[in-house]
């Protein structure tokens, strides 16, 4: 198992006021993303727990791209990975960010 922590500063805070959301399932080829609005507004942290070791650079690239696109300031993302492909990871992160910005 490998644990990764990726920290970023962001341009903006993630919109909305939702405090917590959960997306996805830890199944083969899938992942779950837990989001919590607990950080300072220009910070974003992504914590990853994965059984696939040695893909740190891929995760870093996917996350960097996501942060650049969505600017999810103030949000901590915690991921349990079931062996998802990078495009699935991007999809889930985007879903999670959208959920946090939604009205509830």
């Amino acid at each position: 198992m490998e644990d990764l922590t990726l920290r970023h500063t962001t341009r903006e805070r993630a919109r909305g006021n939702r405090q917590m959301a959960i997306i996805g399932v830890v199944a083969s080829g899938n992942l779950e993303v837990l989001t919590e609005r607990v950080l300072p507004e220009n910070e974003c942290v992504v914590e990853i727990r994965t059984a696939a070791e040695g893909f740190g650079e891929v995760w870093a690239a996917v996350v960097a791209d996501f942060v650049e696109r969505h600017s999810p300031g103030g949000i901590r993302f915690a991921i349990n990975d079931g062996g998802a492909r990078p495009d699935t990871v991007s999809l889930r992160l985007a879903q999670a960010a959208r959920l946090m910005e939604s009205d509830q």
Binding site: I22, N30, R49, D81
Partner: protein
């Protein structure tokens, strides 16, 4: 097969006609209960994960594969547990099981709210086999304690992992069960029977055989489940409400009626070679047409054949 909702809504989210089978545990709970009424207990942000999966280099899930909490069903308070069948096959581990145990003990102590168990499980989680089995034993006892306190415990079965192993035993302790076409209920899984007894005893790759022997339609016709529904959230919701209202009290009279019911089943069908013979014996005119029959037609047929007496189980 499932009609799309006539009014398209701007936010394309699931609605009550959503497939139960396709929905996640969280979606099932959210759509089953009254809108915005669900309050999760020990939710994912608590990170109450399995302490045992790391030993096997397996990923955890923050809710350990089960969602539990309180909510309302048609205005009345209910306690709900929903298994996520896609995480480790919905199998019972230490934490997963303990969440359901605690929920049932709350039901017993409050003696006022019904319990809905949304089963989706292959049974015991191998990597935590002893803890999973023990959890199931504790849950079975807690179901009986709750029922003795007057609580209705309704099981809903229609997910991809079915209701196998110890899950099947917990289901057998419930006040009543709702099942769909996709639901299966059994103790040993098809592969386990084949591995232990050979392919002539049970060909696990023969899907039609699996469904005839363990599937929702058979369970409804043979009395293993009380109500058969179409694969839709609103159908499960309506059935759950109906069973909460109509399920009887639990006591010695129930057990005696159940003993008679099961003994009678053995007497009538104990020599049958296949479920087709059981259905024919029950008066189904064209037993071979049952597996392919659409839900509404099957429901009408099953109701003509028989309805489970509310005094047993």
């Amino acid at each position: 097969m499932i009609a799309a909702h006539p009014q398209a809504r701007p936010s394309a989210g699931p609605d009550l006609s959503t497939s139960w089978y396709e929905a996640s545990a969280r979606t099932r709970v959210r759509l089953l209960l009254d809108p915005s009424s669900f309050r999760e207990i020990i939710g994912p942000e608590q990170r109450e994960v399995s302490p045992h999966l790391r030993l096997f280099d397996l990923p955890e899930q923050f809710d350990d594969g089960i969602v539990v909490g309180t909510g309302r069903l048609d205005g009345k308070p209910v306690l709900v547990a929903a298994q996520e069948g896609r995480f480790m096959g919905g199998a019972f581990g230490e934490v997963h099981g303990a969440k359901l145990t605690g929920l049932l003990r709350a039901a017993r102590d409050a003696a006022s709210a019904s319990v809905l168990i949304l089963f989706d499980t292959g049974g015991v989680r191998l990597q935590e086999a002893n803890a999973g089995e023990l959890a199931i034993a504790e849950i079975m006892r807690a179901v009986i304690e709750a029922r003795l306190a007057g609580v209705k415990v309704i099981g809903l079965i229609g997910g991809r992992s079915g209701c196998y192993g110890g899950g099947g035993l917990i289901a057998g302790c419930c006040s009543a069960l709702v099942v769909s076409e996709q639901g299966r209920i059994a103790v040993s899984g098809p592969e386990v029977i084949e591995t232990n007894r050979g392919v002539d005893e049970f060909d696990s790759r023969d899907r039609a055989l699996v469904w005839r022997t363990m599937g929702g339609k058979h369970r409804r016709l043979a009395g293993g489940a009380d109500v058969f529904v179409d694969d839709r959230v609103d159908a499960f919701r309506a059935a759950a409400l109906d069973l909460i209202a109509s399920s009887g009290s639990f006591g010695l009279h129930t057990l005696e009626a159940e003993q008679a019911r099961l003994a009678d089943r053995l007497r009538r069908f104990g020599a049958c070679q296949d479920s087709l013979d059981i259905w024919a014996e029950e008066g189904v005119a064209d037993a071979a047409s049952v597996p392919g029959m659409p839900a509404d037609q099957f429901i009408a047929l099953a109701d003509k054949v028989w309805r489970i007496p509310r005094d047993a189980r």
